[in-house]
Amino acid sequence: MKARYSIFSLARNALSYHENWQQAWHSPEPKKSYDAVIVGGGGHGLVTAYYLAKEHGMRNIAVIERGWLGGGNTGRNTTIVRSNYMWDQSAALYEHALKLWENMTRELNFNVMFSQRSVLNLAHTQNEVRITKRRIHSNRLNGIDSTWLDPEDVKREVPIIDLRGGGRYPVLGGSIQRRAGTARHDAVAWGYARACSEMGVDIIQQCAVEGFDIEGGQVTGVRTSKGQIKTNKVGLVVAGHCGVLANMAGFKLPVNSRPLQALVSEPVKPIIHNVVMAGAVHAYISQSDKGELVIGAGTDAYNGYSQWGSNPVTEDTLAAICELYPLFRRMRMLRQWGGVVDTCPDASPIIGLSPVKGIYLNCGWGTGGFKATPGSGHIFADTVANNRPHPIAAPFALDRFRTGFLIDEHAAAGVAH
């Protein structure tokens, strides 16, 4: 049994200079076989394992991560959490997740620093004004809070913004979701890992899946850098690398993997208190609790696995930031990085069964899956355990690319969601 985290445990551990904290999760060697193997130790994979153990009684399971927990997009993203997507199917999915975010810290006894500081989506063109208003109506019909802001309202929310956008990017208005915000990304991975470990889930890091054993169309095991593991159920939750693993299993996906990048500045005093997204110019900004400006940029124009991102994209984003927030022109950037995102043609994820029996897919989240982390894992666990899509997952089946029932969320997604 793990000691609970609390103000008292903090005080107690301070007395021993914080040197005696219990390890948050065990790191066992893999067993010979499991009832299910989740490939990918990002947020979505860990939440899947959490609900498999908690709600479906599957405790003989493992999460296999080739690097370190959260070292993929989970630990590289700009942590925007919101649910103001347009179509009913997406509203159901992202709002399910947002409700779980609201109780996550308490449920995990792990502070994920979920901060409902509100998210603004700016509109820079007449076309964006129209689609934003349409989306607000659609959100409200689905019970999702969403409000239109005139330019003066935007200025009231974000006093440092230049509504003229330097003459290039005028702000014509925007939407605001007040329940939306940010969270501490690493804490999400660590909190779920700790909870999984406590329920007996094996968390295995530094172990890459390199192939599958498939007999008569049914998966029977995975081959890893730490040896062979028998299992009849495999959840693929590897984000940008989903195509690589699909290739190993003998099928293709409608996914292109591309670097998406972000930057943080030197820390400054509180200056921007909400999240402001500008889809048309690929610039997103918020301020971390440490005071750094967290800036999200666009995806590279071409496929790539480099976790880096190309220069022209960085330049475009920073140029737009400087037009919208002239006082940031003298800020210095501290770090820049990229994550490999799995973009789908309709900017919606793929959740459900795959062409191989026993292999389940959770991918295609592209530039915007962090916000969905708890909801995605919840419905995916149900899908894996029962070998049929959870009702919220059903519309997001791989088969939609054959039937043509795409769920186009490009407008809600922006470039990076």
């Binding site: 690589v244 293709k252 292109n256 054959r402």
Partner: protein, 97 residues
């Protein structure tokens, strides 16, 4: 920043170009006759290789011609460009996990 060797203009920086995705995909001759599976395959499914990738580019802000490129998608090393009607250059293909 990639330096892309346009077969018509020579090496230029990547922001002169636009991307066309996986190369050597053949559009079905009679789309109205193929199955939904085959059409979805042509339209949506991607090799999305981590490693040596054959891809289409267009020199949008230059000669505006389409051509193919062989590039390593992990290291970004460009192995060479070739005209649409040409055979790809011989390269040691690599893929990564």
């Amino acid at each position: 920043m990639l330096l892309i060797p346009c077969p018509y203009c020579g090496a230029r920086t990547e922001n002169e170009f636009a991307y066309g995705g996986e190369a050597h995909k053949v559009r079905p001759e009679h789309p109205e006759e193929v199955s939904d599976e085959a059409w979805a395959d042509y339209l949506f499914l991607q090799k999305n290789t981590n490693g040596t990738y054959y891809e289409r580019w267009v020199h949008a802000h230059g000669c505006r011609r389409w051509f193919n490129l062989v590039r390593d998608t992990l290291t970004n090393q460009v192995h060479g460009a070739y005209k649409i009607e040409e055979e790809p250059p011989k390269v040691d293909e690599t893929t990564y996990v």
